[in-house]
């Protein structure tokens, strides 16, 4: 290594790996239901999908967490997105394919993907 740029490149790469250890300031919390019902319905790849997608886009203000059974087992995998000052958004029947769109539209641009949410059931 001979330049500051090289050092900063290593820093950027390593920082990304360590993002998960940032305790404070996670503005948006993505919570994946990982009870038996969720896992059986395929929540694990959904969770992995969120982790990957958040890392790929280098989103610093987002944390991906697990939770237990949310109570609507027939709609698992369920993902809830919490944001300070906004109403909680609940996505149902998630799949790894749907993850990219939720991250792009909702988490990055602030527009919840209504057709994936629990609200779409009433329509």
């Amino acid at each position: 290594m001979k330049t500051l740029e090289e050092l900063l490149a290593i820093k950027a790469k390593a920082e990304k790996q360590m993002n998960v250890r940032e305790e404070e300031g996670a503005g948006i919390r993505v919570v994946v239901g990982m009870a038996t019902c969720g896992i059986a319905a395929g929540a694990r790849p959904v969770l992995a999908g969120f982790v990957e997608e958040v890392a790929k886009r280098n989103l610093k203000d987002v944390s991906v967490n697990q939770t237990g059974c949310i109570g609507m087992c027939q709609y698992e995998p369920i993902v809830e997105v919490f944001e300070e000052g906004k109403e909680k958004v609940t996505y149902i029947k998630m799949s790894p394919e749907k993850v990219a769109r939720v991250v792009a539209d909702h988490i990055v641009n602030g527009n919840p993907v209504v057709e994936y949410t629990v609200a779409s059931l009433n329509k």
């Binding site: 290594m1 001979k2 330049t3 500051l4 050092l7 900063l8 290593i10 820093k11 790469k13 390593a14 920082e15 790996q17 360590m18 998960v20 250890r21 940032e22 305790e23 404070e24 996670a26 994946v32 990982m34 009870a35 896992i39 969770l47 992995a48 969120f50 982790v51 990957e52 890392a55 944390s63 991906v64 967490n65 697990q66 939770t67 237990g68």
Partner: protein, 595 residues
Amino acid sequence: MYRSHVLVCGGTGCTSSNSAAIIEALEKEIEAKGLTDEVKVIKTGCFGLCALGPIMVVYPEGSFYSEVKVENIPEIVEEHLLKGRIVKHLLYEETTQTEDIKSINETNFYKKQKRVALRNCGVIDPENIEEYIAMDGYQALAKAVTEMSPEQVIDVVKDSGLRGRGGGGFPTGLKWSFTAKNAADQKYVVCNADEGDPGAFMDRSILEGDPHCVIEAMAICGYATGATEGYVYVRAEYPIAVGRLQKAIDDAREYGLLGKDIFGSGFDFDLHIRLGAGAFVCGEETALMTSIEGNRGEPRPRPPYPAVKGLFAKPTTENNVETFANIPQIILHGAEYFNTMGTEKSKGTKVFALGGKINNTGLVEIPMGTTLREVIEDIGGGIPNGKKFKAVQTGGPSGGCIPASLMDTAIDYDNLTALGCMIGSGGLIVMDEDNCMVDIAKFFLDFTVDESCGKCTPCRIGTKRMMEILEKITDGNGTLEDLDELESLANYIKENSLCGLGQTAPNPVLATLRFFRDEYIAHVVDKKCPAGVCKKLMSISIVADKCKGCTLCSRKCPVGAISGTVKNPHVIDPAKCIKCGVCIDTCKFGAIVKG
């Protein structure tokens, strides 16, 4: 990408409470549950809360598990890592007392701390150079060698107000400037990691938890003073620290952060480790250099000072581990970052090792100017078992003790020196009502008698003579004249010893004489040890009225000093009694008393 990181403390404290087995069990269990690609286990340095080790922190939640046992691992992996349910009953108790789980930084132990030297300990994997780089590591070195002149580096360190953390408290920038202005074909940087004070372990924890910050700082010091080679003198009794430091040096070389032409600036710097064989005197700077040179570790007279004629007779800068650990932050954030913390003459923070009669044994870093009361009561969690706080010993065998009445003293170099104490390397040993202060003085003096290298007479013979007087006092043969003799001898040794060891060795005696003279007088005049520690001054007797004659004590007595028949009061034969106190603990009726 891992969705969760599990940090397990791999410092010496938690290692001795079995964290290595926990890491092994954790990795096995994670594999069994098929989480290997999702959860990463990281062995870190010390979190500071050694009393509650082994410590384990799970991210992204930041859940702080304490006193983790191998048996708890399956539950934590199954519940927390697999199903996302925090195992509340295994968390650090204080974080679970409110409805929401409290962040660890809001607990009493952590909230008053300010971590500069310890900033990466318990945060990064010390064996992974890239994690250090992620925490701004080596940016200060890059900034120093590419953007600043050596004079500018020294000016920043001077302006920061940083003073030596090893004991003396000498201004670091000034020290560097002395070496810088002496021209020579070769100069050296030496890091003193020969931490020998009983009860102090901050240098070890820094080397174990964040070895790269010391390497970076030594390189910066080399650039500022014109040195191209450095030595870290570290105790061989610190195997974890030595191993991690060696790995860190190897990695730094591989990344080109040590060696030739660092950051293309033309500056060369390399480092070596030298192991100390356990002599306390080698923590004294001239003895340390003599030892690195391959000679018997004995101090040499100053002047010439190391800045003129140090290691291998070349100009040398020597600093303590903790002093170095502050340097990268000062260079990176500027002098103001540091000098806005602390008091007028003592800037920044100081790491203290809390030990003795205190609930939260461990490592804390506080801004200078924090009071002893805050450290002991708030951060340390007070004295265990409802006992009364008596005094705190600072600075180990070179320091003194501060009585309970002066607990509101703000900790800084000058305040403690004014009390005949010193910050020293930062050991804080807390004593309660069960400690005898004469015995404490004897303990520390015994240490210096053992560790005196023998080169100069005041220290070699003087401390031995003081020790004899102390023994005379605790044996019950002391006189009031002995106290005066002790004082005059102490002052003579302070003034006439060759090095810091002898010059400070009488401090524990002088400090206890100053603040606890009544205890000395009780030993000398009343022939009593008020705390009941000095065995020769203690007698154990059975209160006949209370004794039921159960014979339990006589059966437990290891020397057969108790006699009596069933249902009749027993008697202790004082000639046979060794005052071990087993009978007192055994008696169910409280019939046996010390006096």
